[in-house]
Structures are given as structure tokens and as C-alpha cells.
């Protein structure tokens, strides 16, 4: 490895940041701008925030001699996507008071609020702190929010597996108290030891994502994570996890060295101690071997491919002090949320509520935000977020089910949910315009309309009940995991998308770029033709992605 290569500028910002403090305190007192100072840009991410600006307004504001409309997105750390009713109520009020009012459920089971102005950051974080919520390490070159299969009815031992999300999140938190000092006005504690054996002063070369799945449902898209844990259950007992490393979907247009990659399963870790040790040491390998010169080539997937899977596994075993066991057999058969009511083995009820693009609002005919607040106010449920950006109104005792059902009924949700097509329920889009600085094209603002135009095509070909996975992003960064979809649309320029097809339904195979730079008419024409071919030629049980791979991609 070319160790002499110049380090990326972010590296020195991290090492000089004095525990991620930088000049954030000073940035907050700069009254002349709504932005933070240049180097704090990178640092504020480690505190769970992105500085953004409304790109739609840039030109107009410049003519008015106004600076860009800077605001901050705050993303919470919610391991496994679990929130109490009180926490939801707090989030609801904070969103209304300080942000755009919309609560956005992310593809990693957390929530984020947009449009928070610089002077509102502290009150926002202080309000969250009152209900034990924080945004530490929700962004930045650290372990991000840990995702985990969300539906308690997936397995009798769901609770046991789910607990790992929280354990891992805590294990991998940075040790600095900067978050508490800067945002919560905590006094600096002199004797507190901020030595961080995991992150040191340089943190990771790039973001790091961990997901935990309970087969057979791959709802968390476990193989798209840097580190995936696949729960292995024997005789209704959790015995450990298969360890998968090197997943990651972000690519850069025009940079052939970048690629999407699904994680490689390299072995099995038995029991909690081995599992947590293996997790920890995967991060130390990435810390020590990851590329710190080129951030586009810094994710674990490149580290892994540079080392080779075998070498990587050996290094991991050396660091762990034990050998990984042979991979345990597992099988994924689905990658979906279980909409509507479901009962778990303990008898509790759960209602999975479809939230288009994860946007919980009162917009439109069904006031979701109002309904959820009312449900939270009963105190008779908790909330779980799914990797498909939906919410599960969860852990409802049988005697309380009716009360919740009435609220859902009153807000028109039960009626609405009956009419939502399968394609819409399985679709994901990233935020994109106007706030995401990377976006090249629309995504969440556009996908609902596009789906409205795709639905008639599916009906025409008799495919409306198929759970086809469609995902859209505004750039090649892959936040909505488009490369692991049966139909992926990746934005290239305003109104134009690359069309990827041939991924499988379970998320174990990447798709292939099929057409470039399509406008809406072309997208619809190509899909129409593909749907027709699928409807005409499929064998019984052929799923769309598999059929496409076999008949379209190989045939063409």
C-alpha cells in the first residue's frame, strides 16, 4: 500500500479536532452566517448532523443578497429502531417546534429532522436528551446506527437478537464527551479519560454500517452493510452469528474504481463474547488498513478486496485471539415488511404502518403524524422503525388492540392501507433534492408520482400483487440501496436515471446497469416491455429479478 500518499484533508481535521470539538462552539456564536465554519462541517457529522442548504432557493436568495438557506439535518441514534411512546411524543413536538415538522424515518431505522437552523440545534438536542435520545455518531467516520430486523413476530428470540443492536452501538461509541459539552452545556470533566482505544484520534477512514438480520427475512438488507450479522438459531436458541464483511453500495459516476458490493460471509462467531470481539476487531482492521487518502475508496469493501478475503479473515482471527467457525447454514426467502396486524409468540400485537418514503406528516388525506401522536399518547404501544422506512406500532397487549385499531380507523389509515399497491409498499427513495448536497436528480419528491404511473402498467400485465422491489436514489451514493433492488433507478442529472435490473428479491444479489440516462417516458416504456415479457414468459414461481437475470440480461 502506498503509505506515502497524501492523507485526505478530513484526516487532519479529525486528528486536530480535540475529541471532535473543533471550533463548533465558536461556529455556534457566528451570527453573520447560518453555517458552521469550514472545518466544523466534517466534525458536526460525528455529532449526528449534516449542514445542508435549500438548493431550490440558492439562485433566488443570491439575487436578494441573502446567503444560502443553511439548515441542519439531525439524525438520531436509535439502535435497532426502537422508541418508547414518550420518546415519540418528544420527537413529534421537537419536529414541530424546530424543524420542517416532518419526521423522516430513514433506511437505517432511525429518524431524522430537517431544516433546523443553527441557533435551534442546541434546544433540539436538549429536548431529545430529556427523553434519553441522542445523535452521537449518527453520521461521520464512525459506526453508524446499528440496524436490526425490526418485527418482533419474526422470531421467538427477536428480543434477544435485538438487544445486540444496543450492545454493539454502545461498544462502538466514541469516548469523547464533546457532544455533551457542546450541545448539552455539560461542564468539561477534567479527570474524565477520553482515551479512545478503538477510534484513537483518527476515527475510521469512512462511515461504517452494521446490520443484524434474523433469517429468513432479510428486511435489513444485511449484506449491504460493512458488517452484517446473520443470527443463527438452533432449537429456538440464539447460538451466534455468521459474520459478513465488505458490503456497501456507494459508487461514483465515472469512477470505475468504485463499485457496489454485497458483504461476504466469512465465518461464524459463537456466543456474545466472540461476536462482540469479532465486531470490534473488524473495526480495528478497517481503522488500520482502510484507505485514508481517497475517501471514495475508503469503505471496508475496498479494504477487504485489497487484502483478499482470506488474509482479512486471518487478520481478524489474529486480532480476536480465536478462529471463526465454519459458516452456519442460513437462508433468506424474503426482504419485506409485514404490513398490517401481526401477533407474536407472546401474544402481543403489532401493526406495520406504511409510510411512503418514511415521511411522517399530516400532508395528504391521511394524517399519519396526528394518528401516531394519538397512539403514543395512549402509552399502550412502542414504536419500531423498519429498514423500508415504515413504522411498526408495537408491543400492544391484546386488551389494548381495539383502542389502537379505533385510532387507526378514525384517521383513515386502515382504509388507506388496503389500497396501497405492492410496488409502492416495497419501494424506497432517498431524500435527494432539495436538501442533499450530493443529489443529481429528484428521488423522494418524485418516486411517488412515478409509481402512480407504473401501477397501471403492472395492472395491465396482471402483476399488481407481485412484491417487486423498486428503489430510487438521486445520486450513485446508494442511500436507498438501489443496487440491491429488482428495479433500481439511480439519478444522473435532473430528470434522468440509470436503470438497473436483475437483483433478487431477497437482497443477496446485486443488479446490473441495463440502460443509461433515461427520462420518465423511456423508463415507463422499458418497464412496460419488461413487465410484458415477464408476464408472458415466466415459469410458475419465477420472481421478477430472477427472471430478468435469466431471460433478459443473459439473453440480450
Amino acid at each position: 500500500m502506498a503509505a506515502e500518499k497524501k492523507l485526505s484533508p478530513i484526516e487532519s481535521i479529525k486528528t486536530k479536532s480535540e475529541g471532535l470539538r473543533g471550533t463548533l462552539k465558536e461556529s455556534l456564536t457566528d451570527e453573520i452566517t447560518g453555517a458552521v465554519r469550514e472545518q466544523d462541517h466534517a466534525l458536526i457529522k460525528f455529532h449526528g448532523m449534516y449542514e445542508q442548504d435549500d438548493r431550490d432557493l440558492r439562485e433566488e436568495r443570491a439575487a436578494k443578497k441573502l446567503d444560502k438557506l443553511y439548515s441542519f439535518m439531525i439524525r438520531l441514534r436509535i439502535p435497532g429502531g426502537f422508541m418508547t411512546a414518550d420518546q415519540w411524543i418528544a420527537a413529534h413536538h421537537v419536529a414541530g417546534q424546530y424543524s420542517t415538522g416532518i419526521i423522516k424515518i430513514t433506511t437505517r431505522q432511525t429518524i431524522q429532522l430537517h431544516g433546523i437552523l443553527k441557533h435551534q440545534i442546541k434546544p433540539t438536542l436538549q429536548s431529545f436528551n430529556k427523553v434519553q435520545l441522542d445523535s452521537i455518531a449518527a453520521c461521520g467516520d464512525v459506526n453508524r446506527n446499528v440496524a436490526c430486523t425490526s418485527h418482533p413476530a419474526e422470531s421467538d428470540i427477536h428480543e434477544q437478537v435485538h438487544a445486540y443492536a444496543d450492545k454493539i452501538s454502545k461498544l462502538l461509541l466514541p469516548k469523547t464527551r464533546a457532544f455533551y459539552e457542546i450541545w448539552l452545556d455539560e461542564e468539561k470533566i477534567a479527570e474524565y479519560d477520553e482515551q479512545d482505544p478503538l477510534y484513537q484520534d483518527r476515527y475510521l477512514p469512512r462511515k461504517f454500517k452494521i446490520g443484524i438480520a434474523i433469517p429468513p427475512n432479510n428486511d435489513v438488507d444485511v449484506l449491504t452493510n460493512d458488517l452484517g450479522l446473520i443470527a443463527i438459531i438452533e432449537n429456538n436458541e440464539l447460538i451466534g452469528f455468521n459474520i459478513a464483511v465488505g458490503g456497501g453500495l456507494s459508487t461514483t459516476h465515472g469512477n470505475p474504481d468504485t463499485y457496489a458490493r454485497l458483504a461476504t460471509v466469512i465465518g461464524f462467531a459463537r456466543g456474545e463474547e466472540q461476536t462482540l470481539k469479532a465486531v470490534y476487531e473488524v473495526l480495528t482492521i478497517q481503522r488500520d488498513y482502510g484507505n485514508r487518502s481517497d475517501r471514495k475508496l475508503a469503505r471496508l469493501k475496498y479494504t477487504l478486496d485489497n487484502m483478499g478475503v482470506e488474509v482479512f479473515r486471518k487478520e481478524l482471527e489474529k486480532r480476536c485471539g480465536f478462529e471463526l467457525e465454519a459458516i452456519q447454514p442460513y437462508q433468506f426467502t424474503a426482504r419485506k415488511d409485514r404490513y398490517g396486524w401481526m401477533q407474536d409468540y407472546k401474544g402481543s400485537w403489532h401493526y406495520t404502518l406504511f409510510v411512503e418514503n418514511g415521511r411522517v406528516t399530516n400532508e395528504g388525506p391521511t394524517p399519519l403524524q396526528k394518528a401516531l401522536l394519538e397512539i403514543a399518547t395512549t402509552g399502550k404501544s412502542v414504536f419500531r422503525f423498519t429498514s423500508n422506512q415504515n413504522v411498526i406500532i408495537s408491543d400492544i397487549l391484546p386488551q389494548d388492540k381495539n383502542e389502537i385499531e379505533v385510532i387507526l380507523e378514525q384517521h383513515g389509515i386502515l382504509e388507506r392501507d388496503e389500497d396501497i399497491s405492492s410496488i409502492r409498499k416495497n419501494a424506497i427513495a432517498c431524500v435527494a433534492l432539495p436538501t442533499c448536497p450530493l443529489a443529481l436528480a429528484e428521488a423522494q419528491r418524485y418516486l411517488p408520482d412515478l409509481i402512480t404511473k407504473i401501477e397501471p402498467l403492472l395492472i395491465k400485465h396482471g402483476l399488481s400483487s407481485e412484491d417487486i422491489v423498486l428503489r430510487m436514489t438521486g445520486c450513485p451514493n446508494g442511500c436507498a440501496r438501489p443496487y440491491a433492488a429488482e428495479i433500481g433507478l439511480v439519478g444522473t442529472s435532473p430528470g434522468h436515471y440509470n436503470l438497473h435490473i436483475g437483483g433478487d428479491r431477497e437482497g443477496t444479489r446485486l443488479n446490473v446497469k441495463y440502460k443509461e440516462q433515461l427520462g420518465e417516458t423511456e423508463i415507463l416504456a422499458v418497464l412496460d416491455q419488461l413487465f410484458q415479457q415477464y408476464a408472458d414468459q415466466r415459469n410458475k414461481g419465477d420472481r421478477f429479478g430472477d427472471f430478468i437475470l435469466k431471460e433478459v440480461l443473459h439473453a440480450s
Binding site: I32, G34, K65, L117, H119
Partner: protein, 561 residues
């Protein structure tokens, strides 16, 4: 040649002198003939005059000071007094009393002269000993030109005073006329007995010598506030040939009435639009007059009274406009309407601080105009000038004149300045900082600004940012309500920064305040006094004295409206 008694005295004296003394007296008298001693050849000589001034913008003060200096040089004892300081009990003791006084907006005296004005009008005393003259400053663009001066002149006559010079009315370019008048007055004091009662026909500067109007072309007219703001603030850029102004000056714009409204009025009365009318010595068509010269919206009470008398009706409405009157109380003939027109007042010009620097902005005039909207019984309405300016687009023309603001000037290039400009009060400071940036002035610049919302109402934000980055703007402190009940007000910011602010002032900095008089201007001045008190001995009196000292040293200037 000498009369007998004088000759006798001289002969007696000569008889007592030695030869040497006679030679000295001979030389002395020769020199005296060549260069006469002051006052020695006049008989009844004035020894003491009082010049009292009432000022708002500082013009009257400056003029009075100049005149006092001039008189002193001529050996006259002069007492110079500001009317806000003047002891009213002195008035009956005055012999020669010269008043230099300006007129504000609607014919009002300057705030500082209000007490004096009321005193002479309402206290029922007589001033038979008073020999007086009045120099009135005003602006011909206003209908009640030099009204206060006229009132004072008339009232002194009524109180039994003797006018020693005719009332002199001056427009904005007062210097020449004022000095000529004063020279004449002094000359009269020197000549034998003063002819006390002078004609009461005032001297007025001919109109043509009045202010110079420029024809500006609109280069830009944009609303500076963003969507979501509760207000609109227009930034208007004008280019005009041959224009001269300085940073700190203002412009006056005489807004025009809506053409459609005028057409509507004329069609109601049946008067032909091209009917010629004489107005102030010039001939206009009625349509021109109603569009460009006369106020037809929000009529003054006297216009309404005149209307009532003309049409022979009792009208008890306030805040009405010409069209409504015509609709409710129609005129009986075209002639009657023309009579009504005689009772209309002139459109008052609106004054705006220039927001551009002649050096930095290539002689363009920029102004920062807050949209004037208000609730009436007919719903939300816009001010006349707002309506007028809002409609102007790139390439349109606007007539304006320059209103010099002599007290609102940048100090020497190496001096620091502190600028407090809430809301549109920021305008002259954009001019100041642009000017100092363009000329490379080394003095430091500190801005205080407040508005409603940071995201939508930060006027000229990107420009301040650029000046801050390049260190032309040294410090900036801001206050935004941002819709919150509790926020740090601009006054509080000033108090927070008090130590540093006082430090700047002690280092010779100049302090400027511009913006709306109420409530911002008042609150800020109170905050400044608090800062001064804290930095000195803690008393309000010392703080006031400190502010007075700054004023005296011309290091504190305010332009509140």
C-alpha cells in the same frame, strides 16, 4: 466745520498739550482717519445680540454658529443659544433676538424648539422691548415651506416686538441667501438708529434657485426579503447624469398618484384632462397637476374643510381621499371642482437614506425602502410612495433630489466607526462600509443590526459577509426575533458589548444611529446611556454628559425617522 461746543473742547485740550504731545496727537488722528476704530464713527451702536437656533438636522445650528462667528468678528457681542437649552425667562430681557429655525415635515417646529414655540404662542405675555429677526429654513418640496419661521415671525410681531429685518425663508441651499440677509442685518445694526419696524413682507428665495432634481433610471428593483418574511424591503438602484452626493446623504422622491385614479376623478367631474391651471406661477394641465403635484389620498383636514366649504356641505370624515369625497359629496360644476383643487396640498417628498457609496458604486444611488402597508377600513392599503416605487421596473425613470445630511458623515479614514442600524436603518451604513472598503480606510467598522428573521430579513447579508471576511467590517452584532417571545434585543446586545463599545469611543470612534425613531431609536439611545453610565460613575447624568460630549465633538450622529 466743528460746532462751537466741540471746537471749544478741542481748543481747551490743545492748550494743555506739549509740543511732543501735539505731534503724537497729530499722528494718532491721521492714522484714525486712515483706519477708523470700530464703532467709533457710529452713534447709537448695538453691543449685544442673541442668536437662537432650533434645529433638527443640524443645518440651523451650523448656520447660526457661522453667523455668530461673523458677528463677533465685527465686534458685536453675541450670545449663541440652542432653543432647547434657552431659558425662556430671558426672553423679556432680550434686546436684539435673532431666531434661526427650521420646519419639519408637516409644518412642525423641530423637537428641540417645541417648548419655545409653545411658550411664545400660549403664554399671553408681551415683548415690547424685543427687536427681532427670523431666519427660516425649510424645503420647498414640502407644502408648508418654512411654516415654523413664519409663525415665529408673526407671533413676535403680535407680542409687540419690533422686526429689524424681514423674514428670510431659505430652501435647502440656504448658505448664500442666509449670509446675504445676515450681512444686511449687521450693516443695519451699524448704521445710526435702527429702523425697527421693517416691512413684514418676507424675503423668499426664488423657486428656480431651489433644489436640483435629477432624472434617475432604475437599474434594479428587488425585494431583499425572502419568501416567508412578513415584510418587503425594496432595494432600488438608480443612475442619473451629473449627480453628486456623499456617503451619508439622503434623497427625496416626490411620488406620483396613480394615473387611473386621476382619470377616474376627472371623469367624475367632467373636467377635461388638458384644462390648464396655474399653480405656483407655472401652468399645468389638470391631469399633470393631479398626478404629480397634489395630494389626493389621505387628505389633510384643511383640504377636507376647504372641500366642505366649496360644495357647501357639512363633512365630518377624517382620513378620506378625494375620490371618496367626490363620490359622496359630488361637485355641482367643473368650476366648483377647480375650486376644490385649490384646497389640495402639495405631495410631500419621501426621504430615503442613500445606501450606496459614490466611490464604490460608480455614482449610483441605491435606496432601501420598507414597504409601507397599513390596515384601513377598506382593508390593507399601501403608502403612496410604496405604491409608486413598487411599480417601477428596470429602465423606468424616477425624479429625485439630493438631501445633504451634513451631520451624518464619515470621520477621517483612520477613525473607527460604530454603526447602529436596525431595519432599514442599515442603509447609510452600507454606504459607509462600501465607501471605506473602496477607499481603503484603515479605521475599524462595527455594525449593529436587527430584523425580524435571520433566514429571510438579513438585509444585504452576503455583502456584510464579504466585508467581514475581508476584514473591512471588523465586528458585527445582530439581533433577530425569529418568531420567539424571548430573544436578545439589539439594545441588549449593545449593553452586552458595552465595555468594548466604550473602549472604541474612548479611542476616538464615531457613533451613528439610524432607523425608526420608535421604538428602536429610543430604546437604543437608552441602552447607550446605560453603557456610558456603567463605564463611568454609574449615574445617568454623567452618561448624558458623555453623550453630549460626543455630540459636541461631532462623534455622535443620528438619523431617526
Amino acid at each position: 466745520m466743528l460746532a462751537e461746543p466741540k471746537f471749544k473742547v478741542l481748543s481747551e485740550l490743545i492748550g494743555q498739550l506739549s509740543k511732543e504731545e501735539l505731534i503724537w496727537v497729530n499722528g494718532y488722528l491721521s492714522a484714525l482717519v486712515a483706519n477708523p476704530l470700530p464703532n467709533t464713527n457710529t452713534s447709537s451702536i448695538t453691543q449685544k445680540i442673541t442668536i437662537a437656533y432650533g434645529t433638527e438636522t443640524g443645518n440651523a445650528k451650523k448656520l447660526a454658529t457661522d453667523l455668530a462667528g461673523k458677528a463677533k468678528k465685527k465686534g458685536i457681542t453675541v450670545k449663541l443659544a440652542s432653543l432647547d437649552q434657552y431659558k425662556l425667562t430671558e426672553l423679556p430681557k432680550e434686546e436684539y433676538f435673532i431666531t434661526v429655525i427650521s420646519t419639519q415635515g408637516d409644518g412642525e417646529p423641530p423637537i428641540g424648539a417645541k417648548k419655545f414655540y409653545d411658550h411664545i404662542h400660549h403664554n399671553g405675555f408681551k415683548l415690547p422691548q424685543l427687536k427681532y429677526a427670523v431666519l427660516a429654513l425649510g424645503d420647498t418640496a414640502y407644502p408648508l415651506f418654512c411654516k415654523t419661521g413664519e409663525d415665529v415671525d408673526k407671533q413676535f410681531e403680535y407680542l409687540g416686538g419690533q422686526r429689524i429685518a424681514p423674514l428670510q425663508k431659505c430652501d435647502l441651499d440656504y448658505e448664500t441667501d442666509a449670509h446675504a440677509w445676515f450681512d444686511q442685518l449687521i450693516a443695519n445694526l451699524h448704521t445710526t438708529a435702527i429702523k425697527t419696524v421693517v416691512t413684514n413682507k418676507p424675503v423668499e428665495t426664488p423657486k428656480t434657485v431651489g433644489k436640483q432634481y435629477y432624472e434617475g433610471t432604475v437599474l434594479t428593483n428587488i425585494n431583499l426579503t425572502a419568501k416567508g418574511s412578513a415584510k418587503k424591503v425594496y432595494h432600488i438602484e438608480l443612475a442619473a447624469d451629473g449627480i453628486e452626493f456623499l456617503s451619508g446623504d439622503s434623497i427625496g422622491i416626490v411620488p406620483k398618484n396613480d394615473e387611473q385614479l386621476v382619470q377616474q376623478i376627472l371623469s367624475l367631474t367632467g373636467v377635461a384632462p388638458d384644462t390648464k391651471i396655474d399653480y405656483k406661477g407655472e401652468s399645468y394641465s389638470i391631469v399633470e397637476l393631479l398626478i404629480a403635484k397634489l395630494n389626493i389620498r389621505y387628505l389633510l383636514d384643511k383640504s377636507v374643510k376647504h372641500y366642505a366649504t366649496t360644495v357647501g356641505q357639512e363633512i365630518n370624515v377624517q382620513k378620506t381621499d378625494l375620490l371618496s369625497l367626490l363620490q359622496q359629496y359630488p361637485v355641482s360644476s367643473k368650476e366648483q371642482f377647480l375650486k376644490v383643487v385649490e384646497g389640495l396640498t402639495q405631495i410631500v417628498p419621501r426621504i430615503y437614506n442613500i445606501a450606496s457609496s459614490p466611490v464604490a458604486h460608480n455614482n449610483e444611488v441605491h435606496i432601501t425602502v420598507l414597504q409601507d402597508v397599513f390596515e384601513t377600513d377598506n382593508g390593507v392599503e399601501k403608502g403612496l410612495c410604496t405604491q409608486f416605487l413598487e411599480s417601477k421596473q428596470e429602465g423606468d425613470r424616477i425624479q429625485f433630489f439630493i438631501q445633504p445630511n451634513k451631520r451624518f458623515r464619515l470621520p477621517a479614514a483612520d477613525k473607527d466607526i460604530i454603526m447602529i442600524g436596525p431595519g432599514t436603518g442599515i442603509a447609510p451604513f452600507r454606504s459607509f462600509v462600501a465607501e471605506r472598503d473602496a477607499t481603503g480606510s484603515i479605521g475599524r467598522n462595527w455594525l449593529f443590526f436587527s430584523e425580524d428573521r435571520f433566514t429571510t430579513d438579513f438585509l444585504y447579508q452576503t455583502e456584510w459577509q464579504a466585508w467581514f471576511e475581508t476584514e473591512t467590517l471588523t465586528r458585527i452584532h445582530l439581533s433577530f426575533k425569529n418568531g420567539a417571545e424571548n430573544y436578545v434585543t439589539l439594545s441588549q446586545k449593545i449593553i452586552e458589548q458595552g465595555v468594548e463599545l466604550f473602549h472604541w469611543l474612548e479611542g476616538g470612534a464615531s457613533l451613528y444611529l439610524c432607523g425608526e425613531k420608535e421604538p428602536a431609536g429610543k430604546e437604543i439611545e437608552a441602552a447607550l446611556l446605560q453603557v456610558f453610565a456603567k463605564a463611568t460613575d454609574g449615574t445617568h447624568e454623567t452618561a448624558i454628559a458623555y453623550l453630549e460630549k460626543l455630540k459636541k465633538e461631532e462623534r455622535y450622529a443620528k438619523d431617526l425617522y
